[in-house]
């Protein structure tokens, strides 16, 4: 018969066997933490604001005269996940003769690597701070120009970051 002696429970002292001191220690720790400022937040009412270096979903920069993008297709070429589709068109009205007639990013394919932003010769596609990207169907995951165009004022922080470190 295999009888185990000298187990951890057998080695406990009297005070340890009482458990009370350990419970008090735990309660002290809880009370200490209660007094500290809270680390969690009430998402989505309270949102975290990332820094300029954060790579959220890619967006197109929109200026007053229209989008910066000239539809060169380099982002589409460099994209390792083939998430981007660009189709160009010609215009006589603006000073840039070429603009994207269609610009779509399939957010199911996007891996947030930021290559598109890095390759862009016009600084027209940048990573935004958006991190909560939700959709209910595969079709809705394909973001068109209407969802991608973002006013340049809202992207200042990222553009400054790029100028400094890119």
């Amino acid at each position: 018969m295999n009888v185990t002696t000298n187990t951890a429970a057998q080695r406990l002292t009297f005070w340890e066997k009482l458990y009370l001191p350990e419970i008090v220690k735990g309660l002290v720790s809880t009370l200490k933490t209660m007094a500290k400022p809270s680390m969690t937040r009430r998402y989505p009412e309270e949102r975290w604001e990332p820094l300029g270096s954060y790579r959220g979903r890619p967006v197109l920069v929109q200026e007053e005269s229209g989008e910066r993008c000239v539809a060169c297709g380099l982002c589409s070429r460099v994209c390792p996940a083939l998430a981007i589709e660009v189709r160009a068109a010609e215009t006589m009205e603006r000073d840039k003769e070429r603009y994207p007639d269609l610009f779509e990013i399939n957010m199911l394919r996007c891996i947030y690597c930021g290559f598109c932003e890095e390759v862009c010769p016009e600084e027209a596609i940048v990573m935004s701070k958006d991190y909560d990207i939700v959709f209910h169907s595969q079709e809705a995951a394909i973001f068109g120009k209407d969802q991608l165009l973002t006013p340049v004022a809202r992207l200042q922080e990222r553009l400054e970051f790029l100028r400094q470190y890119k």
């Binding site: 000239v70 539809a71 060169c72 297709g73 380099l74 589409s76 070429r77 083939l82 589709e85 189709r87 160009a88 068109a89 010609e90 840039k96 003769e97 070429r98 779509e104 399939n106 199911l108 394919r109 010769p121 016009e122 595969q138 079709e139 995951a141 394909i142």
Partner: protein
């Protein structure tokens, strides 16, 4: 023959050749922009500067060698342009020494001084000679920090060609092409120095039927096609080898496809047929009818109108109808755009299964289209091939008579629109009891035909055309259909290869259209005879076996010799070295 030494390699060349030509023939490429084997030598880009010299001679007249036995070379004090320096026996050429490399870098730096950094919006990017050389022969540094010259960026030279003055590097290839090949000398340099640009003469425009070839030979993106401008980046397209079906010349072409839609056609060099050129009409018209207004699937006309059916049902319907008539009451018309494989199978269907000899092709002659260069009056791409397979031709105005005189009851048309607004033919066709049609596009015939089957165009099928000089040329599919989905070796772009169900860029129209030989085989099978052809190549092998003139041919032989002439397959013409100025790599 003179022997010259290039970078230590001795090569033999024809007397009178220039250094660049001698090098090209021996597989050495000297960088160049303005030189083109089909154009005269201008020598103005200075990119082909090389070090040229000869062995030193002693006063006694013997050639001097140094202590180790190497020749002592007296280099010319200045570099010479390889495109305009004729070779001479005993010449030494160096293309890799420091002096030449420095010159190449300097020329690149000089050319790039006023070249805008337009690459992102330039259609040439990806297949640009200047981009390629900037990587290969330039250090990529510029000491120029002034403001670049500004010139006109969008000047239409004619209906097809758009000129961008800033991108132009003044190589004059287009000027020489217009003068020497297109015979329309309307282009000229104007201004001087860094303000130099190219203009058409007052009151003229560059509207030659061959004008768009300047777009291909332009080493940069200064000349763009108005028809194609900004449609796609070259690396997003796939380019499959084909043959232009516009006339019986059979210019070799490449078909540029993105998202299963043809976006442009461009010439493929073939020294015997079309050299480096093709006509604008072929380029701008021969893809549009492939993209739009197509018949996809098979239809049978009933009381309720046209009903979509599967192909086998359509074949059975045709077979059932044909069986009701005597064999010489059945007439078959093949289109001039059908390949040899198609026509051979249709002929087999007519002679061995239906037993009718009423198999004709309609002549399509347009004398206004012909010229003395490439364009021919015979608009049937494969008229010589069809004739070589023993099919008689009739003129369009004889169709109505043919139907009424021979008491035709059933008509089967493959790959042609015979009505074309002609009242006499229309009433003749309406008088028939049965009219079956295999066609590419919606047309007048599709409105009245009893059975309609969508058929594959040249861009969707594999086959051979025999051109006006009896040269048999192989073409391959460029567009995916439901039938050719699995043809191996079809070049596909990156987008095509990796597209998935939920990508919108792969949702291009995959049509349900069949090659004509498959339709003919299907009808024969419905009539109880199985030809047993598996693919176009098996049909062609059968032609090679049974039709004299095609002996010793095969798809592989046709590909490697860029076509073979009827009856002379054993003695292929020498192609020489095929020059390629600049193209998308790899392709």
């Amino acid at each position: 023959m003179p022997v010259i030494t290039i970078d230590g390699v001795k090569i033999e060349a024809q007397p009178g050749k220039t250094i660049i030509e001698a090098c090209l023939e021996n597989g050495i490429t000297i960088p160049h922009f303005c030189w083109h084997p089909s154009l005269s030598v201008a020598g103005n880009c200075r990119m082909c500067l090389v070090n040229v010299g000869s062995q030193k001679k002693s006063p006694e007249g013997t050639l001097e060698v140094d202590g180790e036995g190497n020749p002592v070379i007296m280099w010319m004090p200045k570099l010479q342009i390889a495109c305009a320096t004729p070779i001479s026996d005993g010449m030494f050429v160096s293309t890799k020494d420091d002096k030449t490399l420095t010159a190449q870098n300097s020329v690149m730096e000089f050319i790039l001084i006023n070249h805008p950094l337009d690459c992102p919006i330039c259609d040439e990017a990806g297949q640009c000679k200047l981009q390629e050389y900037a990587y290969k022969f330039s250090k990529g540094e510029s000491r120029f920090d002034d403001i670049k010259n500004h010139k006109d960026k969008r000047v239409a030279w004619g209906p097809q060609v758009m000129f961008d003055g800033e991108r132009c590097i003044s190589c004059s290839r287009c000027i020489r092409f217009a003068t020497e090949i297109a015979n329309q000398p309307v282009l000229s340099f104007v201004q001087r120095g860094d303000h130099v640009t190219i203009e058409t003469f007052e009151g003229t425009q560059f509207d030659s039927p061959y004008s768009m070839n300047v777009i291909d030979i332009c080493p940069v993106g200064a000349l763009t096609s108005i028809d194609f401008r900004f449609k796609a980046r070259v690396w997003d397209m796939s380019f499959n080898d084909s043959v232009c079906p516009g006339c019986s010349r059979g210019c070799n072409i490449k078909v540029g496809v993105r998202d299963n839609e043809i976006l442009r056609l461009e010439p493929r060099a073939n020294p015997i047929v079309n050299k480096y050129w093709m006509c604008d009409a072929g380029r701008t018209t021969q893809y549009k009818w492939v993209n739009a207004n197509r018949v996809s699937g098979s239809y049978i006309r009933s009381d309720k109108g046209l009903v979509l059916a599967d192909a086998d049902t359509a074949y059975t319907a045709i077979a059932k109808a044909i069986k009701q008539y005597k064999s010489d009451e059945v007439m078959i018309v093949v289109g001039g755009m059908l390949s040899n494989e198609d026509v051979y199978t249709v002929k087999k269907l007519a002679s061995e299964v239906i037993h009718t000899n009423r198999l004709v092709v309609v002549e399509r002659t347009d004398t206004g289209f012909a010229d003395s260069f490439l364009r021919t009056a015979d608009r049937n791409a494969n008229s010589h091939g069809i004739a070589s397979l023993g099919i008689t031709s009739i003129k369009p105005n004889e169709i109505a008579d043919y139907i009424s005189k021979n008491h035709i009851k059933a008509l089967l048309v493959l790959g042609d629109e015979i009505i074309r607004g002609d009242e006499a033919i229309l009433s003749a066709v309406k008088s028939l009891s049965f009219f079956a049609l295999a066609t590419f596009n919606e047309c007048q015939s599709t409105e009245i035909a009893n059975v309609i089957i969508g058929s594959a165009t040249y861009a969707e099928s594999e086959g051979t055309y025999t051109n006006i000089t009896d040269r048999v040329q192989h073409f391959t599919p460029a567009i995916v259909t439901k039938e050719n989905m699995r043809i191996m070796g079809m070049k596909m772009s990156r987008l095509d290869k990796f597209g998935a169900q939920n990508d919108r860029w792969t949702q291009g129209d995959k049509r349900d259209c069949k090659q004509h030989w498959r339709i003919a085989q299907g009808i024969a099978e419905a009539l109880g005879t199985n030809f047993g052809y598996k693919n176009s190549e098996s049909v062609f092998d059968d032609i090679v076996k049974h039709v004299t003139g095609y002996n010793h041919m095969s798809y592989d032989a046709l590909d490697s010799h860029l076509g073979l002439t009827l009856n002379h397959a054993q003695h292929p013409e020498s192609l020489g070295v095929i020059y390629e100025s600049h193209t998308l790599k790899p392709n």
